[in-house]
Amino acid sequence: MILVVASYAKGRLSKATYELVTAARQVGSEDAVGVLVLGSGMDAVAAEAAGIADQVLVVDDAAFARYSPEVWGEAVATVAAEGEAWLVLIAASRSGREYSPRVAVRLNAPLLEDVISLSRDGGNISAQRYSFLARATETLMVETPVVVATVKPGIFAAATSGETPGEQFEVEQRVAASRVKTFEERVDASSAVSLTEAEIVVAGGRGVGSAEGFERFIVPLAEALGAAVGATRAVVDAGWRPYTEQVGQTGKTVQPKVYIAVGISGATQHLSGMNKSKVVIAINKDADAPIFKIADYGVVGDVDRILPALLEKIRG
Protein backbone atom coordinates (compact mmCIF):
# COMPACT_ATOMS: atom_id res chain seq x y z
CA MET A 1 0.00 0.00 0.00
CA ILE A 2 1.01 3.60 -0.56
CA LEU A 3 -0.06 5.77 2.32
CA VAL A 4 -0.96 9.38 1.58
CA VAL A 5 -1.37 11.65 4.58
CA ALA A 6 -4.25 14.06 4.01
CA SER A 7 -3.76 17.74 4.65
CA TYR A 8 -6.89 19.81 5.02
CA ALA A 9 -8.21 23.17 6.16
CA LYS A 10 -11.68 24.25 7.25
CA GLY A 11 -13.24 20.83 6.63
CA ARG A 12 -11.91 20.52 3.07
CA LEU A 13 -9.02 18.50 1.68
CA SER A 14 -6.26 20.78 0.49
CA LYS A 15 -5.17 20.77 -3.14
CA ALA A 16 -1.87 19.22 -2.05
CA THR A 17 -3.67 16.02 -1.01
CA TYR A 18 -5.09 15.59 -4.53
CA GLU A 19 -1.59 16.08 -5.90
CA LEU A 20 -0.16 13.45 -3.52
CA VAL A 21 -2.71 10.91 -4.78
CA THR A 22 -1.59 11.58 -8.37
CA ALA A 23 2.05 11.09 -7.32
CA ALA A 24 1.07 7.83 -5.61
CA ARG A 25 -0.81 6.54 -8.69
CA GLN A 26 2.14 7.38 -10.94
CA VAL A 27 4.77 5.66 -8.83
CA GLY A 28 2.73 2.59 -7.96
CA SER A 29 0.11 1.81 -10.55
CA GLU A 30 -0.35 -1.67 -9.03
CA ASP A 31 -0.63 -0.45 -5.46
CA ALA A 32 -3.68 0.43 -3.43
CA VAL A 33 -3.63 4.07 -2.38
CA GLY A 34 -4.74 4.66 1.18
CA VAL A 35 -5.40 8.19 2.42
CA LEU A 36 -4.88 8.74 6.13
CA VAL A 37 -7.17 11.36 7.64
CA LEU A 38 -5.88 12.39 11.02
CA GLY A 39 -7.79 14.87 13.17
CA SER A 40 -10.98 15.56 15.08
CA GLY A 41 -14.43 15.94 13.45
CA MET A 42 -13.21 14.46 10.18
CA ASP A 43 -16.46 13.20 8.58
CA ALA A 44 -16.50 15.69 5.70
CA VAL A 45 -12.76 15.40 5.03
CA ALA A 46 -12.91 11.57 5.09
CA ALA A 47 -15.89 11.53 2.71
CA GLU A 48 -14.07 13.83 0.31
CA ALA A 49 -10.92 11.66 0.52
CA ALA A 50 -12.98 8.57 -0.35
CA GLY A 51 -13.56 10.12 -3.76
CA ILE A 52 -9.90 9.83 -4.75
CA ALA A 53 -8.57 6.95 -2.61
CA ASP A 54 -8.90 3.16 -2.68
CA GLN A 55 -9.10 3.21 1.09
CA VAL A 56 -9.52 5.95 3.65
CA LEU A 57 -8.04 5.35 7.09
CA VAL A 58 -9.72 7.65 9.55
CA VAL A 59 -8.26 8.52 12.92
CA ASP A 60 -10.93 10.79 14.38
CA ASP A 61 -10.23 11.67 17.99
CA ALA A 62 -10.15 14.80 20.15
CA ALA A 63 -6.49 13.97 20.88
CA PHE A 64 -5.76 14.96 17.26
CA ALA A 65 -7.71 18.21 17.27
CA ARG A 66 -4.49 20.16 17.06
CA TYR A 67 -1.42 19.46 14.93
CA SER A 68 1.82 18.67 16.73
CA PRO A 69 4.95 17.17 15.12
CA GLU A 70 5.41 14.64 17.94
CA VAL A 71 1.82 13.39 17.78
CA TRP A 72 1.60 13.36 13.97
CA GLY A 73 4.99 11.65 13.65
CA GLU A 74 3.99 8.81 15.93
CA ALA A 75 0.47 8.33 14.53
CA VAL A 76 1.50 8.39 10.87
CA ALA A 77 4.40 5.98 11.46
CA THR A 78 2.16 3.59 13.40
CA VAL A 79 -0.57 3.53 10.75
CA ALA A 80 2.07 3.11 8.00
CA ALA A 81 3.64 0.16 9.82
CA GLU A 82 0.28 -1.49 10.58
CA GLY A 83 -0.85 -1.02 6.98
CA GLU A 84 2.50 -2.29 5.68
CA ALA A 85 2.89 0.78 3.49
CA TRP A 86 6.09 0.75 1.43
CA LEU A 87 5.76 4.43 0.59
CA VAL A 88 4.45 7.26 2.77
CA LEU A 89 3.66 10.53 0.99
CA ILE A 90 3.26 13.81 2.87
CA ALA A 91 2.72 17.32 1.49
CA ALA A 92 5.86 19.44 1.73
CA SER A 93 4.18 22.20 3.72
CA ARG A 94 6.04 23.68 6.67
CA SER A 95 4.28 21.24 9.02
CA GLY A 96 4.70 18.29 6.64
CA ARG A 97 8.41 18.90 6.41
CA GLU A 98 8.53 19.25 10.19
CA TYR A 99 7.00 15.91 11.18
CA SER A 100 8.01 13.72 8.21
CA PRO A 101 11.57 13.19 9.55
CA ARG A 102 10.01 11.69 12.68
CA VAL A 103 8.03 9.26 10.53
CA ALA A 104 11.20 8.28 8.63
CA VAL A 105 13.20 7.70 11.82
CA ARG A 106 10.40 5.59 13.32
CA LEU A 107 10.13 3.47 10.18
CA ASN A 108 13.92 3.27 9.78
CA ALA A 109 13.33 4.67 6.31
CA PRO A 110 15.11 7.29 4.24
CA LEU A 111 13.41 10.65 3.74
CA LEU A 112 13.14 12.25 0.31
CA GLU A 113 12.27 15.90 0.89
CA ASP A 114 10.25 18.28 -1.23
CA VAL A 115 10.42 16.07 -4.33
CA ILE A 116 9.26 17.16 -7.78
CA SER A 117 9.30 13.69 -9.35
CA LEU A 118 9.12 10.15 -8.06
CA SER A 119 9.61 6.89 -9.89
CA ARG A 120 10.16 3.23 -9.18
CA ASP A 121 12.41 0.84 -11.01
CA GLY A 122 12.34 -2.58 -9.39
CA GLY A 123 13.55 -2.10 -5.84
CA ASN A 124 14.94 1.39 -6.54
CA ILE A 125 13.04 4.57 -5.88
CA SER A 126 14.39 7.69 -7.47
CA ALA A 127 13.27 11.25 -6.99
CA GLN A 128 14.24 14.69 -8.17
CA ARG A 129 14.36 17.74 -5.98
CA TYR A 130 15.86 21.21 -5.92
CA SER A 131 18.90 21.91 -3.78
CA PHE A 132 21.53 24.59 -3.16
CA LEU A 133 18.90 27.29 -2.60
CA ALA A 134 16.97 25.91 -5.57
CA ARG A 135 19.90 26.58 -7.90
CA ALA A 136 20.47 22.90 -8.64
CA THR A 137 18.27 19.89 -9.39
CA GLU A 138 19.45 16.63 -7.90
CA THR A 139 18.34 13.09 -8.59
CA LEU A 140 18.35 10.87 -5.52
CA MET A 141 18.09 7.13 -5.25
CA VAL A 142 17.13 4.86 -2.37
CA GLU A 143 16.96 1.09 -2.18
CA THR A 144 15.08 0.40 1.03
CA PRO A 145 11.84 -1.54 1.61
CA VAL A 146 10.10 1.54 3.07
CA VAL A 147 10.47 5.14 1.88
CA VAL A 148 9.05 8.41 3.23
CA ALA A 149 8.74 11.39 0.87
CA THR A 150 7.42 14.92 1.08
CA VAL A 151 6.09 16.23 -2.22
CA LYS A 152 6.41 19.82 -3.36
CA PRO A 153 3.00 21.44 -3.83
CA GLY A 154 1.97 22.60 -7.29
CA ILE A 155 4.01 20.04 -9.27
CA PHE A 156 1.68 17.06 -9.74
CA ALA A 157 -1.77 17.44 -11.28
CA ALA A 158 -4.74 17.05 -8.94
CA ALA A 159 -6.27 13.55 -8.87
CA THR A 160 -9.80 13.21 -10.16
CA SER A 161 -12.52 11.24 -8.39
CA GLY A 162 -12.88 7.55 -9.22
CA GLU A 163 -16.18 5.86 -10.05
CA THR A 164 -16.53 4.01 -6.78
CA PRO A 165 -15.63 5.76 -3.56
CA GLY A 166 -12.89 4.15 -1.48
CA GLU A 167 -13.88 2.22 1.61
CA GLN A 168 -13.54 4.03 4.94
CA PHE A 169 -11.96 2.38 7.97
CA GLU A 170 -11.93 3.76 11.49
CA VAL A 171 -8.48 3.37 13.04
CA GLU A 172 -7.81 3.63 16.77
CA GLN A 173 -4.63 5.43 17.75
CA ARG A 174 -3.31 6.09 21.21
CA VAL A 175 -0.32 8.38 21.24
CA ALA A 176 1.35 10.44 23.92
CA ALA A 177 0.30 14.09 24.02
CA SER A 178 2.79 16.73 22.94
CA ARG A 179 5.03 18.09 25.67
CA VAL A 180 4.99 21.51 24.05
CA LYS A 181 2.42 23.98 25.38
CA THR A 182 1.44 26.64 22.89
CA PHE A 183 -0.25 29.98 23.34
CA GLU A 184 -0.93 33.27 21.54
CA GLU A 185 -1.51 31.65 18.18
CA ARG A 186 -1.41 34.31 15.49
CA VAL A 187 -2.77 33.70 12.04
CA ASP A 188 -1.24 36.36 9.85
CA ALA A 189 -3.58 38.23 7.59
CA SER A 190 -2.93 37.31 4.00
CA SER A 191 -4.09 38.55 0.64
CA ALA A 192 -7.35 37.31 -0.88
CA VAL A 193 -5.40 35.03 -3.24
CA SER A 194 -3.33 32.23 -1.70
CA LEU A 195 0.35 32.95 -2.31
CA THR A 196 1.43 29.37 -3.01
CA GLU A 197 -1.50 28.67 -5.36
CA ALA A 198 -1.61 32.03 -7.15
CA GLU A 199 -1.10 32.20 -10.91
CA ILE A 200 0.32 35.70 -10.58
CA VAL A 201 2.39 37.08 -7.70
CA VAL A 202 3.24 40.73 -7.23
CA ALA A 203 6.12 40.92 -4.76
CA GLY A 204 7.85 43.90 -3.27
CA GLY A 205 11.26 44.45 -1.73
CA ARG A 206 12.98 47.25 0.12
CA GLY A 207 12.85 49.31 -3.07
CA VAL A 208 9.12 49.80 -2.52
CA GLY A 209 10.19 52.21 0.20
CA SER A 210 7.69 51.70 3.03
CA ALA A 211 4.58 49.92 4.27
CA GLU A 212 2.69 52.78 2.70
CA GLY A 213 4.45 52.11 -0.61
CA PHE A 214 3.01 48.58 -0.54
CA GLU A 215 -0.49 49.99 -0.02
CA ARG A 216 -0.04 52.49 -2.82
CA PHE A 217 1.69 50.30 -5.42
CA ILE A 218 1.91 46.58 -4.67
CA VAL A 219 -1.53 45.82 -3.22
CA PRO A 220 -3.46 47.74 -5.95
CA LEU A 221 -1.39 46.11 -8.72
CA ALA A 222 -2.06 42.67 -7.18
CA GLU A 223 -5.78 43.49 -6.98
CA ALA A 224 -5.89 44.69 -10.56
CA LEU A 225 -4.24 41.46 -11.76
CA GLY A 226 -6.04 39.09 -9.37
CA ALA A 227 -2.62 38.29 -7.95
CA ALA A 228 -1.27 37.40 -4.51
CA VAL A 229 1.05 39.79 -2.67
CA GLY A 230 4.58 38.61 -1.85
CA ALA A 231 7.42 40.23 0.06
CA THR A 232 11.12 39.77 0.79
CA ARG A 233 12.63 38.94 4.15
CA ALA A 234 13.84 42.52 4.62
CA VAL A 235 10.31 43.84 4.13
CA VAL A 236 8.86 41.37 6.64
CA ASP A 237 11.64 42.10 9.14
CA ALA A 238 10.87 45.82 8.79
CA GLY A 239 7.25 45.04 9.70
CA TRP A 240 5.85 46.38 6.43
CA ARG A 241 4.16 43.08 5.53
CA PRO A 242 3.18 39.90 7.43
CA TYR A 243 5.42 36.84 7.50
CA THR A 244 2.83 34.78 5.55
CA GLU A 245 3.69 36.85 2.49
CA GLN A 246 7.42 36.16 2.69
CA VAL A 247 8.95 34.44 -0.33
CA GLY A 248 12.36 32.80 -0.07
CA GLN A 249 14.53 30.40 1.89
CA THR A 250 12.84 31.17 5.19
CA GLY A 251 9.41 31.86 3.70
CA LYS A 252 7.26 30.36 1.00
CA THR A 253 8.25 28.83 -2.31
CA VAL A 254 6.10 29.96 -5.22
CA GLN A 255 5.99 29.03 -8.89
CA PRO A 256 3.33 31.19 -10.52
CA LYS A 257 2.87 31.79 -14.23
CA VAL A 258 3.99 35.37 -13.74
CA TYR A 259 6.11 36.75 -10.89
CA ILE A 260 6.42 40.52 -10.78
CA ALA A 261 9.33 41.59 -8.58
CA VAL A 262 9.13 45.25 -7.62
CA GLY A 263 12.08 46.91 -5.90
CA ILE A 264 13.64 43.52 -5.19
CA SER A 265 17.41 43.29 -5.67
CA GLY A 266 17.40 39.48 -5.76
CA ALA A 267 19.44 37.95 -2.94
CA THR A 268 20.02 34.22 -3.50
CA GLN A 269 17.80 33.45 -0.50
CA HIS A 270 14.88 35.28 -2.12
CA LEU A 271 15.50 33.81 -5.57
CA SER A 272 15.37 30.31 -4.11
CA GLY A 273 11.69 30.89 -3.34
CA MET A 274 10.67 32.14 -6.78
CA ASN A 275 13.18 31.15 -9.47
CA LYS A 276 10.87 28.39 -10.75
CA SER A 277 8.25 30.96 -11.78
CA LYS A 278 7.39 30.58 -15.46
CA VAL A 279 7.84 34.26 -16.33
CA VAL A 280 9.69 36.75 -14.16
CA ILE A 281 9.20 40.50 -14.55
CA ALA A 282 11.52 42.77 -12.60
CA ILE A 283 11.23 46.48 -11.87
CA ASN A 284 14.20 47.98 -10.08
CA LYS A 285 16.17 51.19 -10.24
CA ASP A 286 19.55 49.41 -10.09
CA ALA A 287 20.43 47.94 -13.51
CA ASP A 288 23.03 45.69 -11.86
CA ALA A 289 20.56 44.07 -9.43
CA PRO A 290 20.84 40.25 -9.57
CA ILE A 291 17.07 39.99 -10.10
CA PHE A 292 17.57 41.10 -13.72
CA LYS A 293 19.74 38.03 -14.39
CA ILE A 294 16.74 35.77 -13.94
CA ALA A 295 14.15 38.12 -15.44
CA ASP A 296 12.33 37.56 -18.72
CA TYR A 297 11.19 41.17 -18.83
CA GLY A 298 12.62 44.01 -16.88
CA VAL A 299 12.34 47.72 -16.40
CA VAL A 300 15.21 49.70 -14.96
CA GLY A 301 13.57 52.68 -13.33
CA ASP A 302 12.03 54.25 -10.23
CA VAL A 303 9.29 52.23 -8.58
CA ASP A 304 7.55 55.50 -7.60
CA ARG A 305 7.25 56.51 -11.23
CA ILE A 306 6.82 53.20 -13.06
CA LEU A 307 4.15 51.69 -10.79
CA PRO A 308 1.55 54.51 -10.92
CA ALA A 309 1.90 54.61 -14.72
CA LEU A 310 1.62 50.82 -14.96
CA LEU A 311 -1.46 50.74 -12.71
CA GLU A 312 -3.16 53.37 -14.83
CA LYS A 313 -2.46 51.47 -18.05
CA ILE A 314 -3.64 48.14 -16.65
CA ARG A 315 -6.84 49.60 -15.24
CA GLY A 316 -7.36 51.12 -18.69
Binding site: P69, E70, G73, R94, S95, R97, S100, P101, R102, V105, L111, L112, E113, D114, S131, F132, A134, R135, A136, T137, E138, T139, L140, R179, V180, K181, T182, F183, E184, E185, R186, V187, I200, L225, R233, Y243, T244, T250, V258, N275, V279, I281, I283, A287, K293, A295, D296, Y297, G298, V299, V300, G301, R305, I306, L307, A309, L310, E312, K313, I314
Partner: protein, 253 residues
Protein backbone atom coordinates in the same frame (compact mmCIF):
# COMPACT_ATOMS: atom_id res chain seq x y z
CA UNK B 1 23.86 22.06 31.59
CA UNK B 2 25.14 21.41 28.08
CA UNK B 3 23.93 22.92 24.81
CA UNK B 4 24.97 21.31 21.52
CA UNK B 5 25.09 23.54 18.48
CA UNK B 6 25.22 21.51 15.27
CA UNK B 7 26.90 23.34 12.40
CA UNK B 8 27.61 22.43 8.77
CA UNK B 9 30.05 23.70 6.19
CA UNK B 10 28.26 24.81 3.00
CA UNK B 11 28.98 26.94 -0.06
CA UNK B 12 28.59 30.66 0.49
CA UNK B 13 25.08 31.57 -0.72
CA UNK B 14 26.43 34.15 -3.15
CA UNK B 15 29.13 31.94 -4.67
CA UNK B 16 28.69 30.39 -8.09
CA UNK B 17 28.14 26.66 -8.39
CA UNK B 18 29.59 24.10 -10.78
CA UNK B 19 28.22 20.60 -11.32
CA UNK B 20 30.58 17.67 -11.78
CA UNK B 21 29.23 14.17 -12.44
CA UNK B 22 26.76 13.30 -9.73
CA UNK B 23 27.33 16.22 -7.40
CA UNK B 24 28.24 19.87 -7.02
CA UNK B 25 31.96 20.51 -7.34
CA UNK B 26 32.94 22.52 -4.27
CA UNK B 27 36.70 22.56 -4.91
CA UNK B 28 36.77 26.22 -6.00
CA UNK B 29 33.87 27.43 -3.90
CA UNK B 30 34.13 29.50 -0.75
CA UNK B 31 32.87 27.33 2.10
CA UNK B 32 31.33 28.87 5.20
CA UNK B 33 29.34 27.95 8.28
CA UNK B 34 25.69 27.65 7.20
CA UNK B 35 24.19 30.96 8.31
CA UNK B 36 21.08 29.13 9.49
CA UNK B 37 23.31 27.17 11.91
CA UNK B 38 25.21 30.31 12.91
CA UNK B 39 22.03 31.67 14.51
CA UNK B 40 22.10 28.52 16.65
CA UNK B 41 25.68 29.13 17.81
CA UNK B 42 24.79 32.72 18.69
CA UNK B 43 21.62 31.68 20.52
CA UNK B 44 23.53 29.06 22.54
CA UNK B 45 26.01 31.76 23.61
CA UNK B 46 23.20 34.13 24.56
CA UNK B 47 21.49 31.46 26.65
CA UNK B 48 24.82 30.75 28.37
CA UNK B 49 25.35 34.44 29.09
CA UNK B 50 21.81 34.81 30.47
CA UNK B 51 22.06 31.71 32.67
CA UNK B 52 24.67 29.98 34.74
CA UNK B 53 26.63 26.74 34.53
CA UNK B 54 25.95 26.32 30.81
CA UNK B 55 28.54 24.77 28.50
CA UNK B 56 28.27 25.27 24.74
CA UNK B 57 29.60 22.51 22.49
CA UNK B 58 29.85 22.93 18.71
CA UNK B 59 29.57 19.81 16.55
CA UNK B 60 30.35 19.32 12.87
CA UNK B 61 30.13 16.04 10.98
CA UNK B 62 31.92 16.30 7.66
CA UNK B 63 35.03 16.77 5.57
CA UNK B 64 38.40 17.75 7.05
CA UNK B 65 37.88 21.43 6.24
CA UNK B 66 34.87 21.51 8.60
CA UNK B 67 37.50 22.22 11.24
CA UNK B 68 37.47 25.82 9.96
CA UNK B 69 33.84 26.38 10.92
CA UNK B 70 34.39 24.72 14.30
CA UNK B 71 37.29 27.15 14.90
CA UNK B 72 34.85 29.88 13.91
CA UNK B 73 32.30 28.70 16.48
CA UNK B 74 35.02 28.54 19.15
CA UNK B 75 36.11 32.07 18.23
CA UNK B 76 32.51 33.25 18.60
CA UNK B 77 32.65 31.83 22.13
CA UNK B 78 31.72 28.12 22.14
CA UNK B 79 33.50 26.26 24.96
CA UNK B 80 34.69 23.26 22.98
CA UNK B 81 34.13 21.48 19.69
CA UNK B 82 33.72 17.98 18.28
CA UNK B 83 34.56 17.10 14.69
CA UNK B 84 33.35 13.76 13.36
CA UNK B 85 35.46 13.48 10.23
CA UNK B 86 34.08 11.90 7.08
CA UNK B 87 34.10 12.46 3.35
CA UNK B 88 30.82 10.60 3.07
CA UNK B 89 27.76 12.71 2.31
CA UNK B 90 25.26 11.87 5.03
CA UNK B 91 21.59 12.61 4.42
CA UNK B 92 19.94 14.39 7.36
CA UNK B 93 18.18 11.28 8.70
CA UNK B 94 21.49 9.37 8.73
CA UNK B 95 23.32 12.38 10.20
CA UNK B 96 20.75 12.58 13.00
CA UNK B 97 21.99 9.16 14.17
CA UNK B 98 25.47 10.59 14.82
CA UNK B 99 24.10 13.71 16.52
CA UNK B 100 21.78 11.71 18.79
CA UNK B 101 24.64 9.44 19.93
CA UNK B 102 26.80 12.44 20.80
CA UNK B 103 23.90 14.04 22.67
CA UNK B 104 23.55 10.92 24.81
CA UNK B 105 27.30 10.48 25.36
CA UNK B 106 27.77 14.13 26.36
CA UNK B 107 24.59 14.45 28.42
CA UNK B 108 23.34 17.37 26.32
CA UNK B 109 19.92 18.85 27.19
CA UNK B 110 19.38 21.31 24.35
CA UNK B 111 20.27 20.83 20.67
CA UNK B 112 20.29 23.78 18.26
CA UNK B 113 20.60 23.55 14.48
CA UNK B 114 19.56 25.54 11.41
CA UNK B 115 15.96 25.34 10.19
CA UNK B 116 16.89 24.80 6.56
CA UNK B 117 20.22 23.77 5.09
CA UNK B 118 21.74 26.06 2.49
CA UNK B 119 23.20 23.16 0.48
CA UNK B 120 20.48 20.46 0.44
CA UNK B 121 17.58 22.76 1.25
CA UNK B 122 16.69 20.15 3.89
CA UNK B 123 14.59 20.92 6.97
CA UNK B 124 14.88 17.44 8.47
CA UNK B 125 17.84 17.37 10.83
CA UNK B 126 16.27 18.91 13.95
CA UNK B 127 13.13 16.78 13.84
CA UNK B 128 15.08 13.59 13.10
CA UNK B 129 17.41 14.20 16.06
CA UNK B 130 14.42 14.90 18.30
CA UNK B 131 12.69 11.69 17.23
CA UNK B 132 15.79 9.56 17.84
CA UNK B 133 16.05 10.99 21.35
CA UNK B 134 12.30 10.91 22.04
CA UNK B 135 12.40 14.67 22.62
CA UNK B 136 10.03 17.48 21.61
CA UNK B 137 11.10 19.90 18.88
CA UNK B 138 10.48 23.54 18.05
CA UNK B 139 11.20 24.56 14.48
CA UNK B 140 11.57 28.01 12.87
CA UNK B 141 12.15 29.76 16.19
CA UNK B 142 12.08 33.57 16.37
CA UNK B 143 12.48 34.12 20.12
CA UNK B 144 13.96 31.93 22.81
CA UNK B 145 14.52 32.22 26.55
CA UNK B 146 15.60 29.65 29.13
CA UNK B 147 14.37 29.76 32.71
CA UNK B 148 14.39 27.06 35.37
CA UNK B 149 14.88 24.22 32.94
CA UNK B 150 12.14 25.34 30.55
CA UNK B 151 12.27 27.08 27.19
CA UNK B 152 9.83 29.84 26.28
CA UNK B 153 9.65 31.48 22.91
CA UNK B 154 7.85 32.02 19.63
CA UNK B 155 8.09 30.18 16.34
CA UNK B 156 6.59 30.22 12.86
CA UNK B 157 3.94 27.70 11.84
CA UNK B 158 2.07 27.07 8.56
CA UNK B 159 0.03 30.28 8.46
CA UNK B 160 1.37 32.41 11.27
CA UNK B 161 3.20 31.95 14.54
CA UNK B 162 2.65 30.78 18.11
CA UNK B 163 4.20 31.14 21.52
CA UNK B 164 5.50 28.02 23.27
CA UNK B 165 6.87 26.63 26.50
CA UNK B 166 8.56 23.27 26.85
CA UNK B 167 10.59 21.64 29.59
CA UNK B 168 14.10 20.53 28.61
CA UNK B 169 15.39 18.41 26.97
CA UNK B 170 14.43 19.67 23.51
CA UNK B 171 15.63 20.36 19.97
CA UNK B 172 15.25 23.87 18.56
CA UNK B 173 15.83 24.91 14.95
CA UNK B 174 16.98 28.44 14.25
CA UNK B 175 16.51 30.97 11.47
CA UNK B 176 17.24 34.52 10.43
CA UNK B 177 15.57 37.01 12.74
CA UNK B 178 16.27 35.07 15.94
CA UNK B 179 19.42 37.08 16.65
CA UNK B 180 22.38 38.82 15.06
CA UNK B 181 25.42 36.51 15.21
CA UNK B 182 28.49 38.17 16.67
CA UNK B 183 31.83 38.49 14.89
CA UNK B 184 34.79 36.84 16.59
CA UNK B 185 37.07 39.41 18.24
CA UNK B 186 40.86 39.14 18.05
CA UNK B 187 41.27 38.05 21.71
CA UNK B 188 38.59 35.41 21.15
CA UNK B 189 40.32 34.22 18.00
CA UNK B 190 43.53 33.80 20.05
CA UNK B 191 41.68 32.03 22.84
CA UNK B 192 39.91 29.75 20.37
CA UNK B 193 43.23 28.21 19.35
CA UNK B 194 43.67 26.85 22.85
CA UNK B 195 40.17 25.46 23.19
CA UNK B 196 39.50 21.74 22.89
CA UNK B 197 38.65 20.48 19.40
CA UNK B 198 38.16 16.72 19.57
CA UNK B 199 38.35 14.72 16.36
CA UNK B 200 36.56 11.44 15.86
CA UNK B 201 35.91 9.16 12.92
CA UNK B 202 32.48 8.33 11.55
CA UNK B 203 33.21 4.59 11.76
CA UNK B 204 32.79 4.74 15.53
CA UNK B 205 29.11 5.66 15.03
CA UNK B 206 28.08 2.88 12.65
CA UNK B 207 26.06 5.28 10.52
CA UNK B 208 25.79 4.93 6.75
CA UNK B 209 24.02 7.17 4.20
CA UNK B 210 20.46 6.13 3.35
CA UNK B 211 20.07 8.34 0.29
CA UNK B 212 22.41 8.45 -2.72
CA UNK B 213 22.65 11.39 -5.11
CA UNK B 214 23.01 9.98 -8.61
CA UNK B 215 22.92 13.22 -10.57
CA UNK B 216 23.05 16.96 -9.92
CA UNK B 217 22.44 19.63 -12.52
CA UNK B 218 22.67 23.39 -12.25
CA UNK B 219 19.56 25.19 -13.43
CA UNK B 220 20.24 26.66 -16.81
CA UNK B 221 16.82 28.01 -17.55
CA UNK B 222 17.16 30.59 -20.32
CA UNK B 223 15.31 33.77 -19.55
CA UNK B 224 14.25 36.18 -22.31
CA UNK B 225 16.22 39.06 -20.82
CA UNK B 226 14.19 41.78 -22.48
CA UNK B 227 15.21 44.69 -20.28
CA UNK B 228 13.98 48.25 -20.83
CA UNK B 229 15.81 51.18 -19.32
CA UNK B 230 13.11 53.69 -18.44
CA UNK B 231 15.35 56.73 -18.07
CA UNK B 232 13.02 59.72 -18.04
CA UNK B 233 10.30 57.85 -19.87
CA UNK B 234 8.45 56.05 -17.07
CA UNK B 235 5.22 56.29 -19.09
CA UNK B 236 6.77 54.55 -22.08
CA UNK B 237 8.34 51.77 -19.99
CA UNK B 238 5.04 51.22 -18.14
CA UNK B 239 3.13 51.13 -21.43
CA UNK B 240 5.52 48.50 -22.77
CA UNK B 241 5.13 46.40 -19.64
CA UNK B 242 1.34 46.70 -19.74
CA UNK B 243 1.47 45.58 -23.37
CA UNK B 244 3.51 42.50 -22.42
CA UNK B 245 1.06 41.62 -19.64
CA UNK B 246 -1.86 42.08 -22.00
CA UNK B 247 -0.72 40.54 -25.30
CA UNK B 248 2.24 38.25 -24.57
CA UNK B 249 1.25 36.88 -21.18
CA UNK B 250 -2.49 37.46 -21.50
CA UNK B 251 -2.98 38.10 -17.80
CA UNK B 252 -4.79 41.41 -18.27
CA UNK B 253 -8.16 41.47 -19.99
Amino acid sequence: MKILSVIRQVPDAESSLRAANDSIDLSNTRLVMDTMDEYGVEEALRLREAGSGIEVIALAVGRASSEEILRGALAMGADRAIHVKTDLVLDPVALSGVVAKIVVAEGVELVLCGGRQTDWDSEALGAAVAERLGWPQLTWTNELALKEGALTGRHDVDEGSEGFTVALPAVVTTQQGLNEPRFPTLPNLMKARKKELRTETLEAYGVVPMVRAVKTEIQSRKRLQEITVAGDDAEGAAAKLAGILRTELKVVA
